[in-house]
């Protein structure tokens, strides 16, 4: 059971990374991590380091590409951007998440109604 829970978390982070890259264009690892933190506010407590496992996984699936470059403050960094395959995957995953959260919302609200 621990396995499937981990999968879900992994998938979640992967999806966040894809969405960030789709919205922001090319970004380095630190940038992606910061962006996710900012967007989610304090809701997600992300160890920034975990993002690199996610990035390498997405790279190997061919959903993102990577390239060394220079940041705005002139630091050398590895920049990631989403590929066409990645966009397709993002659309699919986003739809799935949307459906899942809809269903969850309905199920949970049904429970609170029945409780009265």
């Amino acid at each position: 059971m621990a396995e499937s829970k981990l999968d879900l978390l992994q998938g979640t982070l992967d999806l966040m990374v894809l969405q960030t890259l789709a919205a922001m264009g090319s970004l380095h690892g630190y940038g992606i991590a910061r962006r996710i933190e900012q967007v989610s506010g304090d809701e997600v407590l992300l160890n920034q380091g975990t993002i690199y496992a996610s990035l390498v996984r997405l790279l190997q699936r061919g959903w993102i590409s990577a390239e060394w470059g220079t940041s705005e403050n002139n630091r050398k960094a590895r920049f990631y951007s989403i590929t066409a395959d990645g966009r397709k995957q993002l659309a699919e995953d986003a739809k799935y998440w949307q459906r899942l959260s809809d269903v969850m919302g309905r199920v949970l609200s049904m429970e609170s109604d029945g409780g009265e």
Partner: protein, 902 residues
């Protein structure tokens, strides 16, 4: 789900660790720099900025590990680590690894060797399409006086089945046949087969060149190409170098002109296992060779193995049912009335047996022994595994602290178990490889145990793919079995306790499990030793009992006189002249002829009575042998009363009986000078004839057709002009060289036109007849020794380990006044209890094991208490000897040193 692209990338990452790691390091450094920059920009001090950056990042090492896991093949990485670690472990204790690998080599090697034989003889399928639908149509005679299994069919029976049965798409007959192939003036004996014209068609084979035989070839006098022959692929390559022009070539096969019409497909070796035919000719050709066309179709000679292919949708049971209902009408149609209702015929059934693997007469004799050997080697393998489990457990307990430390550092229990399994695999794999090598070497040696000289050269003893697969499975199974116990123990290690204690301890449960291996091994070993002792005693009995023969320096030659001009009386005279001439040769003691080779499995049996009114008296059967003068002198059989037969016509109505026949026919009175009536029913004509002979001598009892029988009643008759084909010369000389020389020079003088034949020495005939017993006894003896050796090692290992664990305790005892002798006894007592437990369990196991080999025994009871006592004694001696070595070490423990060590 891992996509192909991802897998490819992961594989690539696996092999490019270093550059990828460097890139990751750079990236992580760059991440931290960016974070520090931003924090400083927010007004933190440099030190605080770095601290915050690291906190936000989480564990750097963890991030590294997770990235590596995500990109590569983590399980493979871990496996490599395990393997490297296991290699270091083995390198540190090479003795341990050596013993383990050697044990496995012997265990797996023995299994592979036996399985190679089993596979070649019993399991390997014929290389024809849909071999599973091939069946053998065969007669079994069950019940009644004499059981006969796997009786071949006559050609007319096969034709009857072909005509009347609906279950088969084709039926064909097959018989092994030896030919002389003469091509370009060079003659060479070749093995072959005569087959029905439709045989290749029913088998579903296609020619490698030219065409295969067809029913049109299988006609009296041959087909459109005259006599047509198909040659084997091997002969095509060896003798004709794969030349396609061989098709249509005219050759001579056993004095008959034959056309080679095609080449059989590569790898096809006929349907009789362990025969490698090089020439296939139609069955009609054999009639031409023997000049008996009429007999082939009308005669009752049952000599063909019948194969058939089931029609689609028909299974073997249905075919069986159909054939069974056909059988009575087949017998009515084909058998003369005199034979039709004999008890043997009434008890016979026509059966449809599976023939996916073809058939071999060797199977009748060797199926059970091979299966027995297979079980025995399986037991040896079990003992090996028990032994290794014991060794591994001992080592695991010595390594408990290591496990505890690794556990404390975060290695999961599963990881530890896997480590141990990898370690066992690392011993099992080299063990398996060496075992296959051993089997490779031992194969030919083992085959020598199988009597049939053809089988010796033609059975494959080289492990093939199926055998290697089994070996690999064996190795994995062993690794699992002997890795399991320590892995299980390791998984139960309590890390904290283990870390705290200075001396490794083992939980009570594991110690018990470890001790249980000893009785287990002892029990299995005892069973093996008992079986080996029984089989060994069998061979000793066979070899040492008085057979009534003297076998040294006796040689037999087949008299191949079929092509001589002489017939009848002239031939009889020739035999007599040859016998007498041979005896004049230097070194020859006696020379004679006989129609029955002793120990060869041939039987000639007639019904006799001593009563005056022979036609209406009850007859009794005796074995018959037609012999020349000096036969008994040549074979060393004593003449007890009366005289030998003479080489002249004066003795044509004389005969000699052995003691058993004398007692059978003349239980009360004198034997010499009495008349014995040979009552013969001619089954074809329904008439009965009586032949009288006067007994002129009584000889000692001897065996007749096999080594295993009790000496039967035998009546010896002189050779006569009616019985002068198929005789064997027998010569006893000072040496075999002189015997051979006498044969050759006499034949050159008196029968220069007859072909020379291969001799068989008497010793060889005996050995062939006892081959199965010798094979069983030698192999089971070897396995028993192996089992004893392994048990010895196991016991030694346990006691040595025990002593090392109890050094302190022994020191305390000695300090408190225990003598060295008592320490020695204390250590031995423990092993004695285990031995006793094993012997009790083993006694029960041995009883059943002995019962199961009952049918292989000769002149020894399966329950013989001497055998059990001897086997138990051997085990006790070996067990105590193995325990005594470490026990002596315990005796030499210095109390002060032992105490200080704590």
């Amino acid at each position: 789900m891992v996509s192909a692209r991802e897998l490819r990338n992961r594989l690539r990452s696996f092999f490019r660790k270093d550059p990828l790691d460097r890139e990751l390091e750079e990236e992580l450094a760059s991440h931290l720099r960016l974070a520090v920059d931003e924090n400083i920009a927010h007004g933190m001090s440099a030190e605080e900025a770095r601290r915050q950056a690291l906190i936000r990042f989480g564990g750097v090492q963890q991030a590294r590990e997770r990235q590596r896991e995500a990109r590569g093949l983590p399980w493979l990485d871990e496996m490599m680590q395990d393997i490297r670690f296991a290699t270091r472990q083995s390198a540190r204790k090479p003795g341990f690894a050596l013993v383990a690998i050697l044990t496995l080599t012997l265990g797996i090697g023995a299994n592979t060797a036996i399985f190679t034989l089993t596979h070649a003889l019993l399991l390997s399928g014929l290389p024809v399409p849909d071999a599973g639908r091939l069946v053998r149509v065969v007669i079994h005679v069950r019940g009644g006086k004499r059981e006969m299994n796997n009786v071949p069919l006559s050609l007319s029976m096969i034709e009857f089945v072909q005509r009347r049965a609906d279950a088969f798409s084709g039926v064909f007959g097959w018989s092994v046949y030896d030919f002389v192939l003469k091509d370009n003036g060079v003659s060479r004996g070749r093995r072959g087969a005569v087959v029905s014209g439709n045989a290749f068609d029913v088998l579903g084979l296609h020619a490698a060149a030219g065409r295969l035989l067809s029913p049109a070839d299988d006609q009296p006098g041959g087909g459109p190409d005259g006599w047509a022959a198909v040659i084997s692929y091997r002969l095509w390559m060896d003798q004709y170098h794969g030349d396609p022009a061989v098709v249509g070539r005219h050759v001579t096969v056993t004095d008959h002109g034959v056309t080679i019409v095609g080449v059989a497909p590569e790898g096809f070796e006929g349907v009789i296992v362990a025969e490698h035919p090089d020439l296939y000719l139609p069955i009609e050709f054999s009639a031409a060779l023997n000049d008996n066309e009429k007999q082939l179709h009308e005669g009752g000679m049952m000599w063909l193995t019948a194969f058939a292919r089931l029609k689609p949708g028909v299974d073997r049971e249905q075919a069986q049912a159909e054939v069974a209902t056909l059988f009575p009408s087949m017998l009515d149609a084909l058998l003369p009335p005199g034979i039709r209702h004999l008890p043997e015929v009434e008890h016979s059934t026509l059966d449809v047996d599976a023939a996916r693997t073809g058939w071999s007469p060797l199977r009748m004799e060797y199926t059970k022994p091979l299966l027995l050997l297979q079980v025995l080697v399986g037991v040896v393998l079990l003992i090996c595994c028990a032994n290794l489990s014991g060794l591994f457990l001992a080592r695991a307990s010595a390594r408990q602290q290591e496990f505890a430390i690794r556990g404390a550092l975060g290695a999961g229990r599963r990881r530890l178990m896997r480590q141990l399994l990898v370690e066992s695999m690392m011993l099992a794999v080299p063990g398996a490889l060496l075992g296959v090598g051993l089997a490779w070497l031992a194969g030919p040696w083992m085959l020598r145990g199988i009597a049939n000289p053809r089988a010796q050269v033609s059975l494959s003893t080289r492990p093939d793919f199926a055998v290697l697969a089994i070996t690999a499975a064996c190795a994995c199974l062993c690794a699992l079995l002997f890795g399991m116990a320590p892995a299980w123990a390791a998984s139960r290690t309590n890390f904290e306790t283990a870390l705290r204690s200075t001396r490794s301890r083992i939980s009570g449960g594991t110690a018990l499990a470890r001790r249980l291996f000893i009785p287990f091994q002892v029990a299995l070993s005892l069973a093996l030793v008992v079986v080996a002792a029984l089989l060994g005693a069998t061979v000793v009995h066979l070899r040492t009992e008085d057979s009534g023969f003297r076998m040294q320096n006796v040689i037999f030659y087949y008299a191949d006189f079929g092509r001589l001009q002489q017939r009848g009386v002239d031939l009889l005279t020739l035999y007599r002249r040859i016998m007498m001439r041979m005896e004049e040769k230097p070194g020859v003691d006696a020379a004679s002829v006989t129609d029955i080779l002793p120990y060869y499995g041939w039987i000639d049996r007639d019904s006799f009575t001593a009563a005056a009114d022979a036609l209406h008296s009850k007859t009794m059967d005796a074995d018959v042998s037609e012999i020349g003068a000096h036969y008994f002198a040549a074979l060393g059989t004593r003449i007890l009363a009366g005289r030998d037969l003479r080489n002249d016509d004066g003795d044509l109505h004389s005969c000699i009986v052995n003691e058993r026949a004398a007692a059978l026919y003349f239980p009360h009175g004198p034997v010499l000078g009495q008349t014995l009536h040979d009552v013969e029913h001619n089954l074809r004509t329904g008439t009965t004839t009586v032949r009288d002979c006067q007994i002129v001598g009584v000889v000692q009892n001897t065996k007749y057709d096999t080594v295993r029988e009790a000496p039967p009643a035998i009546v010896y008759r002189p050779i006569s002009k009616q019985m002068v084909v198929g005789l064997f010369f027998v010569i006893h000389a000072r040496s075999l060289v002189e015997a051979r020389a006498a044969y050759h020079s006499t034949m050159q003088e008196l029968a220069p036109d007859s072909p020379e034949t291969d001799p068989a020495t008497f010793v060889q005939l005996f050995n062939d007849s006892a081959a199965r017993d010798q094979l069983l006894s030698a192999m089971s003896g070897f396995f028993a020794v192996l089992a004893l050796l392994l048990s010895g090692i196991g016991i030694y290992g346990l006691v040595a380990w025990n002593v090392s664990q109890r050094t302190t305790e022994i020191g305390v005892r000695m300090a408190l006044g225990a003598t060295r002798g008592r320490v020695f006894v204390m250590v031995l007592r423990q092993i004695a209890v285990l031995l006793a437990t094993g012997l009790v369990a083993g006694g029960i196991a041995s009883y059943f094991a002995a019962q199961s080999v009952h049918s292989f025994l000769y002149e020894i009871e399966a329950e013989d208490p001497r055998v059990f006592a001897l086997a138990a004694g051997v085990l006790v001696v070996i067990g105590l000897a193995a325990a005594a070595i470490p026990a002596r070490r315990a005796m030499r423990v210095e109390p002060m040193q032992a105490l200080r060590a704590e």
